[in-house]
Symmetry: C2
Subunit: 405 residues, 2 copies
């Protein structure tokens, strides 16, 4: 008998009919002889509706109460799913994050899982029940307050629970068929990958592939949990994320991200400590910085560029402006309309020419590169957002058309 952890997102449990469909799928898995733990998100629009209510009663809701409010969402979907499963003749019980022993730090709205006790989950499994656990939520053991895990939180709950319970597989059911070589909305020829390594998936997630966030992939990698990303609307196989993949392509996929903005600080003296001051000030204001590029020094001065999430642009700008005198810099430039286009592939390690090749493909299409950042298994270029689709299509055609390189 295997232990399967399944996670269903908000779209998969969007209404009563869909909840009944999920129940049928869970019951099939159970009747195939598996122990099943199900992690659910809130129903479709519930979270947005609750946030709207909060804005109606408060101009600045606190994190504690916002988390109390939002966790009502999974409470509803998990109870309904447990009922629907029982209606099909299989015993089931739902548990909140707190009841399932999902312990977190105290960061309301973006808490990290610190430990999972999981004894009630194990007890219910021993009793032969299907266990439904609320995704996205936990409890801070210090304050005994309920917390939420922020973006991708339900996936994190599922993978962390799978690790704690030593599950055989963690299945992430979603509204796409799996992990694609590029976003199929941009590239008609993009195809689903049968499998992808943890490392490539981490890079793809970091480069903007939205199907699974890096935090969940990292957790799965650390504990060696195979993750199966698949569609909640049909039974076909999706993409397996695991340690060893059979066919190691040079380029696994093309990812893109249009949710970042670029800031450039001009004319900074090329001296030790300047970068530390700048990024120290940004960190102090909670700005998340992605790419950082420092140009070659000219006459003892240089330019430093970095990218931040669009929603951090304003505070990044004011934090950087505040330290301008101290940096003895000339000024700041901001560019909101940028795109980051990335090639990801573990095989790049052994193919040193990929970066030059990528720049050539972009150049051949007349696309200008304004920033470059590389890791051992990823190359990212920042370009004009207006050219993003073209760039992704050209790179996919070059590296991934028909067969991976």
């Amino acid at each position: 008998m295997s232990l399967v952890v399944q996670k269903y997102g908000g779209t998969s449990v969007g209404d009563a009919g869909r909840i009944s469909n999920v129940a049928r799928r869970v019951v099939e898995t159970r009747k195939a002889g598996n122990d099943v733990v199900v992690v659910v998100s809130a129903m479709g629009q519930t979270t947005d509706e609750l946030i709207e209510l909060a804005t109606q009663v408060s101009s600045r809701p606190t994190g504690r109460e916002m988390d109390m409010l939002l966790t009502a969402g999974e409470r509803i979907s998990m109870a309904l799913l447990a009922m629907a499963i029982r209606d099909l003749g299989v015993e089931a019980a739902s548990l909140t994050g707190s009841q399932a022993g999902i312990l977190t730090d105290s960061t309301h709205g973006g808490a990290r899982i610190t430990a999972i006790k999981g004894d009630r989950v194990r007890q219910y499994l021993d009793d032969g029940l299907v266990v439904i656990v609320a995704g996205f939520q936990g409890v801070d053991p210090a304050s005994r307050d309920v917390t939420t895990l922020g973006r991708g939180g339900s996936d994190a709950t599922a993978v962390a629970l799978a690790a704690t319970l030593r599950a055989d597989v963690c299945e992430i059911f979603t509204d796409v068929d799996g992990v694609y070589t590029a976003d199929p909305r941009l590239v008609a020829d993009a195809y689903k990958l049968d499998e992808v390594s943890y490392e490539d998936m981490l890079e793809l997630a970091g480069a903007g592939a939205g199907v699974l966030m890096a935090r969940s992939v990292e957790f799965a990698r650390r504990f060696g949990i195979p993750v199966h990303v698949r569609s909640s609307f049909h039974d076909g196989p999706g993409t397996w994320i695991k340690e060893e993949v059979m066919e190691e392509a040079v380029v696994t996929g093309v990812a893109h991200d249009t949710t970042e903005a670029k800031v450039t600080v001009h004319g900074v003296p090329d001296q030790p400590g300047i970068a530390a001051k700048l990024f120290g000030a940004l960190a102090a204001d909670g700005v998340i910085v992605d790419m950082i590029v420092q140009n070659v020094s000219t006459a003892g001065h240089t330019d430093i560029s970095f990218t931040v999430p669009d929603e951090h642009l304003e505070k990044a700008q004011s934090a950087a402006e505040a330290v301008l005198p101290e940096l003895q810099a000339n000024g700041i430039d901001v560019e909101a309309n940028i795109a980051k286009v990335s090639l990801v592939g573990t095989g790049m390690r052994n193919h040193p020419g990929v970066a030059a090749d990528m720049f050539a493909v972009l150049a051949a299409n007349g696309i200008n590169i304004s920033m470059i950042s590389t890791s051992a298994v990823r190359i990212s270029c920042v370009i004009d957002a207006a050219r993003c689709t073209e760039a992704v299509q050209a790179l996919h055609a070059h590296y991934l058309e028909k067969e991976p390189v």
Copy 2:
């Protein structure tokens, strides 16, 4: 400084605007120098909507999951209220029934409060916060499952919390102005009582006055908590329910109840043990029995009549029919269209003629009485439901017009 427990029902927190109004009232109470604990129900239609969702996914939802589902309702209203209060510059925090330490038995959907720990409530009060507690919900310490308290549960939460915290007053905010001498929808001259004793209120509640259920009044009486039933829509005083009332009227109010049905078992042998068998069988099936009347015996046989809530009629009938042979009874009659009309007043103790007087009033109006039941401070008559309004009007006119008798 006083400690005030306030309870707001579903209508009072029906939308964002009303929640903001409740927040203003709470803040006024706090700024007047009181410690404040607020108990809230789910927003207006939330509970009905959740029940509708449950029926869509399951033909027979279990009590455990139904309670898990429904408790999402107060979670939403309490978090929103805490936010709205903070928005007015007063520190506030919300607690679920479980977090507030409201312990219950394991009867899902109709749990009884067995104890209140309340240490988090006290801690937050000591920290200077307004504390919002979810009404209607608790936790069964044995299973650690969430429970709901059934009808009138939020009032019970408020009164029990007030007792535990030794509050100075428990204010029940509702959509009526207070306790009336009769239902104002039936009797145009009915007027609000300034105060009413626990004992009279218990009888009024038991006789169908819907403003506050007997379980909450009983709790208040036992712990000597003054309860102030008042409108959530204006600031005027309502009705105080307390031990000693200044002016003890012979008749405090006329109550009526059209939600019961009458069952008569005919031709029962007048022998010891017969009633025990009949009502034992009813109790075993969970039938709640209100009035019981046994007629004078004729030729060694008698009739037993009793009333049950409408929704228990079917199971009462089948339970009684099942024991008919054992009872050697002739048969069963059922009457669904009945009304119970009651006079309540502690002063009756010293006025033995009230019952005869009441029967005379009904007779003068040509209203036939089919069952009578009395306590020291209440007289109830079962009549045809079609004559209920007439009976209440006639009795109110006789006993309560202008000045109480």
